[in-house]
C-alpha cells in the first residue's frame, strides 16, 4: 500500500491554475488500453453496503446514495478516477479575480436521458433546490458560502434570491459571499448534481422512481426495489456516452460483510463495498491483488469532553492520555488493514495541507511513556490516586477492539481505571452530541478534499464540535483562513490552526482509515486512487479473457 502523495505542484499550482483561468481540460471516462479484449456482456455487479436511502441528489447525505448518484447524475464539474476536479456538464468555467463569481459554460451537447437539452435553468433549479427549506435537505449548509444561502435555509429569504442565476440558456453564474478555494470540489459533489426541472415539478417526491427519473449522468435508472437492488443502464444521451463501456450496473445493498464476501466468492459480485475486518490477512493471502486497501480521507479519533472534569482546564492530563497510546500497535495489531497511525486530525493525503507533528512522535515507546507518566503526575494523578474515566463507543466489533486496546494501554502505562460503555448507534450519537460522556469514540470522513473538512469540526460554535473544544485563537485562525484567497497563505494559516489545536489536546487522533474492497481481476479502469473513494462506473470496463462473474 502506498500513501497518497501531494506534491507541491499538486497542492499549490494546480488549484491556483484552476482558480484563475478558464478550463478546457478534456473529460474523463473509460480509457481502455489498446489490445484489451472487452467482454461481450458489459454488466457490472457491485456491492454498496446498505440500501440507498434516496436517489434524489439534493436530499442525499450518505455515501451509498452518492455511489449511485455519481452514475445517474452529473454536476457542472465532476471528478476523474484520481479525484481531480474536471469539467462535467459544464465544459469550462471562469472565476473572477476576487474568487467570488464563478461562471460555468454548459456543453452544447449536454442532454438528459430523455434527450432534452440540459439548460442553465435546470442547473439553477438544482442548486436552489438544495437550500429550499421546503425540501429540507440535510446538506443545505454545504453551499452556505453562496450568496443568501443561509438566509434561505433559515426561511428569511426566498430560494429565488440565491446567488445563482442563468445568464443565458448555456451559462450559469454563482456568486459567493466569501472566497472559497475548494468551491469547485463542492460543485462536483453529489448534492450539486443537476436534475431536470420539468421532471421534478411533474412528479414531485416521486421523481426518482423507475420510469419517472430523467438523469443527467452516464447512466439511467431501470429498476429499484428497496433491499433488493438498483439497476442502471447506459444513458445513450449522455454527452460522453461514446467513451462509456459498461452497459448495465446492478447495485446490491448487502449490509452483512460475510454475505457480501460469499457473493464475491460465488461470482455474484464484481466489487464489494467492504470486507470482514477479521479476515483481512487471510483474504490478502488468498485473493492477492483482488484486495484493495487504500487510504481514505477520514480520521478515527477519541473525544475528551473538554466541558467537564477531569478534562476541563487540564491539558496535561489530556496530553498524558494521548502520549500513552501506541497508535502503531492499534493500526497494525488491532485494526490491521493498513490504517495509518495519526497525530494530526487532518488525515494523510489531504490536498493543500502539510501534516503537523508533535516533537514527541519520534521518541522511543519507553521515553514517550515516561514523559506521559510525568505529565499524568503533574496533572494530579498517580498509581495511588488513579484517574477513573469511562469510554463510550457504539456497538461494533472493531470499536470494541479499539476500546479494549485503549483501556489496557491507559491502565498499563498510567494506571488509569477505564470503564467501557457500549451504546446503540443513535443513543451513542445523542449522548456524544449533547456532551453526556467523558471520553468517546469519534470518526469523520471528508465530504470534500480540503483540510477545512476536518478543522471546522473543532470550531467552538460548530454543531459537530463533539469534544466541546473552545479556543478563540483557533476560531480566529479558521476564520482568517476562510477569508484568505492566496492558497499558499491559506494552507499556512490552517496548518498554524491545526498546531494550536493539537497542542491543546482536545481529542486524540488515532489513525487514518483505509477503504477495503474486493475487486474482480476482470474489472478494468479501477485504480482505487480516489482519496474519497468516489467511484464512477463510466471509468470501468469488463475484460473478456479473465474469469467473469456470473451475469
Amino acid at each position: 500500500m502506498t500513501l497518497i502523495k501531494t506534491s507541491v505542484c499538486t497542492r499549490f499550482f494546480v488549484p491556483a491554475f484552476l482558480s484563475l483561468f478558464s478550463l478546457t481540460i478534456n473529460a474523463y471516462a473509460a480509457e481502455v488500453p489498446a489490445g484489451t479484449k472487452l467482454a461481450k456482456k458489459q454488466i457490472f455487479n457491485v456491492g454498496i453496503g446498505a440500501e440507498a436511502p434516496t436517489l434524489d441528489p439534493q436530499k442525499g447525505q450518505d455515501n451509498v446514495s452518492a455511489r449511485i448518484g455519481y452514475d445517474l447524475y452529473e454536476g457542472l464539474a465532476t471528478e476523474n478516477e484520481k479525484g481531480d476536479i474536471v469539467p462535467g456538464i459544464a465544459s469550462k468555467w471562469d472565476i473572477s479575480k476576487d474568487g467570488l463569481t464563478y461562471t460555468f459554460y454548459i456543453r452544447p451537447n449536454a442532454k438528459f436521458s430523455d434527450g432534452s437539452p440540459i439548460t442553465a435553468e435546470d442547473a439553477v433549479f438544482s442548486i436552489r433546490r438544495l437550500v429550499d427549506p421546503k425540501l429540507a435537505s440535510p446538506y443545505a449548509e454545504l453551499i452556505s458560502m453562496v450568496k443568501n444561502a443561509e438566509s434561505i435555509a433559515s426561511g428569511k429569504a426566498k430560494p429565488e434570491e440565491l446567488g445563482v442565476k442563468a445568464i443565458d440558456p448555456n451559462t450559469v453564474q454563482i456568486t459567493l459571499t466569501k472566497s472559497t478555494p475548494y468551491f469547485l470540489k463542492l460543485v462536483a459533489f453529489a448534492n450539486l448534481a443537476i436534475v431536470k426541472k420539468a421532471n421534478v415539478e411533474k412528479f414531485g417526491e416521486q421523481f426518482t422512481q423507475p420510469g419517472n427519473l430523467v438523469s443527467s449522468g452516464a447512466y439511467k435508472l431501470k429498476y429499484w426495489k428497496i433491499g433488493d437492488k438498483v439497476t442502471t443502464e447506459r444513458n445513450p444521451n449522455y454527452w460522453n456516452n461514446s467513451k462509456t463501456v459498461i452497459d448495465t450496473v446492478n447495485y446490491f445493498p448487502i449490509s452483512d460483510v460475510n454475505t457480501e464476501l460469499q457473493m464475491f466468492q460465488t461470482g455474484q459480485l464484481d466489487f464489494t463495498y467492504d470486507i470482514p475486518s477479521d479476515k483481512f490477512q487471510d483474504l490478502k493471502k488468498t485473493l492477492g491483488k483482488q484486495l484493495f486497501a487504500k487510504p481514505y480521507l477520514s480520521m478515527y479519533f477519541i473525544d475528551f469532553n473538554n466541558n467537564i472534569a477531569p478534562f476541563k482546564n487540564n491539558p496535561k492530563l489530556r496530553q498524558a492520555l494521548s502520549m500513552a497510546i501506541d497508535r502503531k500497535v492499534i493500526a497494525e495489531k488491532v485494526t490491521g488493514r493498513g490504517e495509518i497511525p495519526s497525530y494530526d486530525i487532518v488525515p494523510f493525503g489531504t490536498s493543500s495541507y502539510k501534516q503537523q507533528n508533535y516533537s514527541w512522535e519520534k521518541l522511543t515507546p519507553e521515553q514517550r511513556i515516561a514523559e506521559a507518566q510525568k505529565l499524568y503526575k503533574e496533572a494530579g494523578y498517580s498509581k495511588e490516586k488513579p484517574l477513573t474515566i469511562s469510554y463510550s463507543y457504539n456497538t461494533n466489533a472493531l470499536h470494541k477492539k479499539v476500546a479494549i486496546a485503549l483501556s489496557s494501554m491507559w491502565e498499563q502505562n498510567l494506571g488509569v481505571k477505564v470503564s467501557l460503555t457500549n451504546q446503540e448507534w443513535k443513543v451513542f450519537l445523542t449522548e456524544r452530541m449533547e456532551g453526556r460522556y467523558v471520553t468517546a469514540r469519534d470518526g469523520w470522513i471528508a465530504d470534500y478534499n480540503d483540510p477545512s473538512s476536518f478543522l471546522d469540526l473543532f470550531q467552538s460554535k460548530y454543531p459537530q464540535n463533539n469534544s466541546k473544544y473552545k479556543n478563540p485563537k483557533y476560531d480566529e485562525l479558521i476564520t482568517k483562513a476562510s477569508l484568505e484567497q492566496n492558497l499558499e497563505k491559506r494552507s499556512k494559516i490552517l496548518e498554524q490552526a491545526s498546531l494550536v489545536m493539537m497542542n491543546d489536546y482536545p481529542a486524540i487522533p488515532l489513525y487514518t482509515y483505509v477503504t477495503t474492497h474486493l475487486v474482480k481481476s476482470h474489472l478494468g479502469g479501477h485504480s482505487g486512487n480516489n482519496p474519497l473513494d468516489h467511484q464512477y462506473t463510466r471509468n470501468f470496463y469488463i475484460i473478456d479473457n479473465l474469469t467473469s462473474a456470473s451475469r
Binding site: P53, P138, G227, Q262, L429, P463
Partner: protein, 306 residues
C-alpha cells in the same frame, strides 16, 4: 359458531389499537431521532426537517394525526427513505416475506406432519430415534447459525445456489432462506405431531380398527390424522409469529428485501413510520392467524362447543 366467530373478530381490534399506541409512544421515547447521524445538523436544517415531517407538533397531536392517516390507509412517508412512502415499501416488502414465510410454513407442515406421524407409527424403533434426534437438533440450533452454515456449504463450497440476494424471487435464491426458516418449524411440528399421534394410536377406536384388520395406511390417513393434527393446527398461530420473527434474521443474513429487514432497519434508523407500519402489519397478521386458527379448530373438532 357464527356468534363465536363474530365475537373473536371483534375481540381482535382492541389488541391492534393497543399495539399501535404502544409502538407509537415507545418509538418516540427511544433516544435519538430519525435525522440524527454522524453529521450533526444545524438548527435551521433540523427545524426545516421537523416542520416537513410535523415532528414539531405536540406528541399527542402527532398520534391523532397518525391514527387519522391510518384510518385512511396511509402509513405516511418514510423518514429514512424519503423517496418512498411506507405504503410503497410495504407493498414491496410484504409479498417477499409472505412468499418465503408461506413456503416455509407449507413445507414445515407437510414434512413435520409426515415425520411426526412416521415416528409415532414406528415408536421406539431406529426411525423414531432418528426423527426425534433430528427434531431436537432442529429446535436447538437457531436460524442465525444454520443459515450461514448452509451458505458456506451449498453456496461457497458446492456452488449449487446463490449466497444471497433476492433476484426477483428466483427459485435458486429461495432455497436456502426457505430451508433456514422451515427447519425449526419442521422440528417443532414433528414433535407435536408425534406426541399427538401416539396418543391417538393408543385410543380405543384405533385399537378397534386394527382388530378389524383395517390396513395401517387407512388407519393413519382416514382415522388417526384428523384428531392427531388438532394440536398442530392450534400451534399454527404461534408458528406464524415464529416464522415472522425468524424471517427478520433470515432476511438480514440472505439480504432479502422483506418486511423483516425493514423492521430492523426502521428500528435502527428511528424511521418511526416504517417501524409502525411494519409492526402493525405483522401484529395484524399474527392476530388474524390466531383468529383463523380458532375458527378452524372449532370447525375441525366436533367435540368443541361454543
Amino acid at each position: 359458531m357464527v356468534s363465536y366467530t363474530i365475537k373473536r373478530f371483534l375481540g381482535a381490534w382492541p389488541t391492534l389499537i393497543v399495539l399501535i399506541t404502544l409502538s407509537f409512544f415507545l418509538m418516540r421515547v427511544a433516544p435519538g431521532g430519525p435525522f440524527s447521524g454522524e453529521k450533526v445538523l444545524s438548527a435551521a436544517v433540523q427545524a426545516n426537517l421537523d416542520a416537513k415531517y410535523h415532528l414539531n407538533d405536540p406528541i399527542f397531536v402527532q398520534y391523532l394525526d397518525y391514527l387519522w392517516s391510518l384510518a385512511r390507509g396511509d402509513f405516511g412517508p418514510s423518514f429514512k427513505y424519503p423517496d418512498w412512502t411506507v405504503n410503497q415499501l410495504i407493498n414491496q416488502g410484504f409479498p417477499v416475506s409472505l412468499w418465503i414465510g408461506g413456503w416455509a410454513m407449507f413445507i414445515a407442515i407437510i414434512i413435520g406432519v409426515l415425520v411426526g406421524s412416521l415416528a409415532a407409527f414406528k415408536q421406539n424403533t431406529w426411525v423414531d430415534y432418528i426423527a426425534t434426534g433430528m427434531s431436537m437438533t432442529g429446535i436447538s440450533i437457531p436460524s442465525f447459525v444454520t443459515a450461514p452454515m448452509f451458505t458456506l456449504l451449498f453456496a461457497v463450497v458446492l456452488g449449487w445456489v446463490p449466497a444471497g440476494g433476492w433476484n426477483d424471487g428466483a427459485f435458486l435464491n429461495m432455497i436456502l432462506p426457505v430451508t433456514a426458516l422451515a427447519l425449526p418449524q419442521i422440528a417443532i411440528i414433528s414433535r407435536i405431531m408425534r406426541g399427538s399421534m401416539i396418543e391417538v394410536l393408543r385410543s380405543n377406536y384405533i385399537r378397534t380398527a386394527k382388530a378389524k384388520g383395517i390396513p395401517n395406511r387407512i388407519i393413519l390417513f382416514r382415522h388417526a390424522i384428523r384428531p392427531a393434527i388438532l394440536p398442530v393446527i392450534s400451534y399454527l398461530g404461534p408458528a406464524t409469529a415464529g416464522i415472522i420473527t425468524g424471517s427478520v434474521v433470515v432476511e438480514q443474513i440472505f439480504s432479502l428485501p422483506g418486511l423483516g429487514s425493514y423492521l430492523v432497519k426502521g428500528a435502527l434508523n428511528r424511521d418511526y413510520t416504517l417501524v409502525l407500519g411494519s409492526v402493525i402489519l405483522v401484529g395484524a397478521l399474527i392476530i388474524a392467524f390466531n383468529f383463523i386458527v380458532d375458527v378452524l379448530y372449532a370447525m375441525i373438532d366436533p367435540k368443541i362447543k361454543y
